[in-house]
């Protein structure tokens, strides 16, 4: 079963990369156009440069070259940086993962207990309070929250306003201080989704007939919640976890640009603007792979958690 999924993912990646290549090739203009604005460079030189970087070849030929260089583990050479894309991306991927993993852990770590608490007290005051909070967080755009935090940090002068390290390399504590705000903003974006999903899953599972039957034979309520209801409510949550993992390389794009976090975000935005095709493709490929891994992980977890799926699996 696993091998079929891996094959499917490979096909998916091919389809995504081909679609993206065609998309970018169809857009007018390329990296060297802006070069024409520099009076010191003649048009002839620009055309020669274009030929040298192979931009004059049709897009499917360049796609072929890209596939070959992916096989070599370089993922194409960036026209702008003159370096293999893989070398450019790896340090940035690490920074993005650091940001998204912390924020995802923060969001899930807060949302699961809150969801349980709200579900147990369903309809009560606590449930209402959490719901309104989640509604508010959902309504506030991540971009705005980020800007306000940077603005506040700039005023406070105690709190770092963006970037990953202060000018003097402060080591781990310094990085954590810089990580707090962007991770907080991302977590504020993810928390309401996870909370509401978990609360509704618990509410639905606790309404199923076997819960009342269990209470009728004296199973203690805490054991029912933690043991019986939780396992059933886990199914929808596992699919959501799959999607969360899927987004770890793409969900933080805007936050990274606002906070100046040296991840994939700023690099990708610049790559799209400068039409550096290979550099655009790599983050898209990485997030496609992340999504496929996320889905696969979710399916495996589902089979582990629910015997009915295991039978059907």
């Amino acid at each position: 079963m696993i091998w079929r999924r891996v094959l499917q993912t490979m096909l998916l990646l091919l389809a995504v990369s081909a679609a993206w290549f065609a998309l970018l090739a169809a857009s007018p203009g390329d990296y060297f156009d802006l070069q024409r604005l520099d009076p010191r460079v003649s048009a002839a030189t620009v055309d020669k440069l274009r030929a040298e970087y192979g931009l004059t070849k049709p897009w499917w030929v360049r796609y072929g070259d890209w596939l070959v260089s992916v096989a070599h583990g370089e993922m194409g050479v960036s026209i702008v940086y003159n370096e293999p894309v893989a070398d450019l991306l790896l340090p940035r991927c690490a920074n993005t993962l650091l940001l998204t993993l912390t924020s995802t852990a923060l969001a899930w770590g807060l949302a699961l207990p809150a969801g349980l608490w709200a579900a147990v007290r369903r309809g009560g005051g606590i449930d209402h309070v959490w719901n309104v909070a989640a509604g508010l967080l959902l309504a506030i755009p991540e971009l705005l929250l980020g800007t306000l935090l940077v603005y506040w940090a700039a005023g406070s002068a105690r709190w770092p306003a963006g970037g990953m390290r202060s000018a003097q390399d402060g080591g781990l504590l310094d990085i954590l201080r810089h990580l707090a705000l962007p991770a907080g903003v991302l977590a504020a974006g993810l928390f309401p989704i996870v909370f509401r999903h978990f609360r509704n899953a618990l509410a639905e599972a606790s309404g199923l007939p076997f819960v009342r039957a269990a209470r009728a034979v004296g199973v203690s309520p805490p054991r029912i919640w933690l043991h019986s209801v939780l396992r059933v409510a886990a199914n929808p949550m596992i699919s959501l976890l799959g999607l969360s993992i899927g987004g770890i390389l793409s969900s933080s794009l805007l936050a990274e640009v606002i906070f100046g976090w040296p991840g994939l975000g700023p690099l990708f935005v610049e790559a799209v603007m400068t039409k550096d095709t290979y550099l655009v493709l790599a983050p898209v490929m990485f997030s496609a792979v992340a999504l496929a891994v996320g889905n696969l992980l979710a399916d495996l977890l589902l089979m582990w958690n629910d015997p009915r799926i295991r039978a059907a699996g």
Binding site: G29, D38, S42, E83, R165, M273
Partner: protein, 580 residues
């Protein structure tokens, strides 16, 4: 070679800078009182400390041959030195690596004698062979170096020959008006490190960002210490720099902060010491916080509204643009003072011609910026056969409503704002105009290659004040002749006259004569208006008070051109002092 006298306009600018400094706390501790006339003298600095400057985007390479973007050039400027370079403040060419330079009478030959005892930043000696090698690499067809085209005069390269270990002779194929300015931003390369790569033809794969510092060397005040992807590039003092006590700074850190507001935030928290080119809208909030923001007056850039005058059969907007009165009416309708006030908060100068007031040497003083008057515009339009219907919409001779688009580059917020105001101004005289924001590269592609646009708001200039660098723009065959690029022969008589004027001034050695020729070019453009000049933004620099010997100018690298003289008052303590 007559030296340019200091003109009246220049004098006013110096006063304003000195005035700005007098009010700042820094000035009080300076023993030397800056005189109204004399330029600032360099103050003995204290060694040590780190200077942090914010960059909008990362440098793309550390290889001078490939440095196509501004951030890379800004870094490379600190790592390398030229034989001779233009002093950004006095605009005079000064010998740097050369001890003396003897130009021949006809200006075609230069004998250059190098300073003795110069070493690269890796300790290797620098001599005439390196100079010959550098020129050879720059002029090599296959390398496509960025520096190649300026070294061609009438498509023929200069030739460099070695006279002895310390002296070379450079011969020009033809008379070249800017003379020694040609040698500015021509860094001398280390033969011992690059010759092997050059022979194998791999020059454009070397000296990338992640290359180990030991593999690179230059003659500039600093050398590469460390690069951290996406975050910062750290340069350290070059121990072998020829101006012994300088540079005073231990390190310069280039911090990559992608967005201007983020840059300002980090400036306010003290992470950043210097921000080049602050945009006008942020000046208010910085000054409100007691930050010293230097206004250096208009830059060399000129923003303009461009008409598509290319000849192709397609009907529609292009017919109207060919009518001179139509173009003049559009110019009259535009409220340039409104743009200066609303878009730049007063920190910009309206333009009379494509030469910005900041370029004192070549500005045609007699031209004045067009006055905003809707009546004049309406009069011009009705005279040339345009009528307004009941609904107030303008119609051309055969009754079609006047409707066209303005393309703007998405990256520049100020130019988009200008387009918004122009749209409102033109609507007032009945023209239906729609703004189309485009990603900058696709916009350039439309303007220069496919000509699929009506009008556009663009900005040019900013590299070098000398007119010869604008040849590509004004000559009808030029690649950058934006309104109708790369014409086989001039489409109109006035473009033919401009071609003639530009050729003549390129080889005219007498500066006075050159000025008259270039003034005429400016008059023609102001009259014919293929592009309507709008405004030139002021250069605004924000600096922390601890940065000393800072003498920013409106020419590129704005603040770091004298990086060897800069120093910081107190060395940066480990934990930034919280006292704000």
């Amino acid at each position: 070679m007559s030296r340019r006298g200091r003109s009246r306009g220049c004098q006013k600018q110096y006063n304003r800078i000195i005035l700005a400094w007098r009010t700042s706390f820094y000035f009080l501790i300076l023993p030397l009182l800056a005189t109204a006339l004399g330029a600032q003298t360099v103050q003995r600095g204290m060694r040590g400390g780190t200077l942090v400057i914010a960059q909008r985007s990362e440098p793309k390479t550390l290889n001078p041959l490939l440095s196509r973007d501004a951030p890379s050039r800004e870094v490379l400027g600190r790592l390398s030195s030229d034989l001779m370079s233009v002093n950004r403040q006095t605009q005079k060419v000064e010998p740097v690596l050369a001890e003396w330079v003897h130009p021949s009478a006809d200006g075609l030959h230069y004998t250059v004698h190098l300073r003795s005892g110069l070493r690269f930043s890796d300790g290797q000696p620098f001599n005439a062979d390196d100079v010959v090698f550098s020129f050879q690499v720059y002029l090599d067809e296959k390398v496509h170096a960025v520096q190649r085209d300026p070294l061609l005069i009438h498509e023929k390269p200069v030739t460099v020959s070695k006279l002895d270990g310390q002296t070379v002779r450079i011969d020009l194929p033809g008379r070249y008006a800017p003379g020694e300015r040609m040698f500015d931003s021509l860094p001398m390369l280390p033969r011992h490190l690059l010759e092997a790569a050059y022979r194998e033809g791999k020059l454009n794969q070397v000296w990338g960002l992640s290359t180990k510092p030991e593999a690179m060397a230059g003659l500039g005040p600093f050398r590469v210490k460390e690069y951290r992807a996406g975050e910062r590039l750290v340069l350290e003092r070059n121990p072998y720099y020829w101006k012994a006590p300088q540079p005073y700074l231990d390190e310069i850190v280039f911090l990559f902060v992608g967005d201007e507001d983020a840059q300002i935030a980090r400036f306010l928290t003290g992470d950043v010491d210097l921000v080049n080119r602050v945009s006008a809208r942020n000046v208010g909030l910085l000054r409100a916080r007691g930050v010293r923001v230097e206004d250096l007056g208009p830059s060399l850039e000129y923003n303009f509204l461009l008409f598509n005058l290319t000849k192709d059969a397609s009907p529609g907007p292009k017919e109207w643009f060919q009518i001179k009165a139509f173009r003049q009416a559009v110019s009259a309708a535009i409220d340039r003072d409104g743009i200066v006030k609303l878009v730049y908060g007063g920190l910009a100068s309206p333009l009379a011609s494509p030469v910005s007031p900041g370029n004192k040497a070549w500005l045609n003083q007699k031209l004045t910026a067009g006055k905003h008057s809707a009546e004049q515009a309406k009069k011009l339009l009705s005279e040339s056969g345009f009528t307004r219907d009941k609904a107030g919409e303008l119609r051309d001779r055969n009754g079609k409503t006047v409707e066209f688009t303005i393309a703007t580059g998405a990256s520049s917020q100020e130019r988009s704002a200008m387009a918004t105001m122009i749209q409102a101004d033109l609507q007032a005289i009945g023209m239906k105009v729609q703004i189309v924001p485009l990603e900058s590269r696709s916009m350039v592609d439309r303007i220069l290659n496919t000509h699929q646009y009506d009008t556009a708001v663009m900005g040019l200039g900013g590299a070098d004040p000398d007119p010869v660098f604008e040849t590509n723009v004004w000559k009808s065959a030029g690649g950058m002749h934006v309104w109708n690029p790369e014409q086989k022969q001039p489409a109109t008589s006035w473009e033919a006259e401009i071609d003639r004027l530009m050729d003549e001034q390129a080889s005219e050695l007498k500066q006075e004569k050159r000025r008259e020729l270039y003034n005429r070019v400016q008059e023609i453009v102001a009259e014919e208006m293929p592009l309507i000049c709008l405004t030139s933004p002021h250069v605004l620099v924000a600096a922390q008070p601890r940065v000393k010997n800072l003498r920013p100018t409106i020419f590129d690298h704005y603040t770091l051109w004298n990086s060897d003289e800069l120093f910081v008052a107190e060395a940066k303590t480990k934990e930034r002092s919280a006292g704000r």
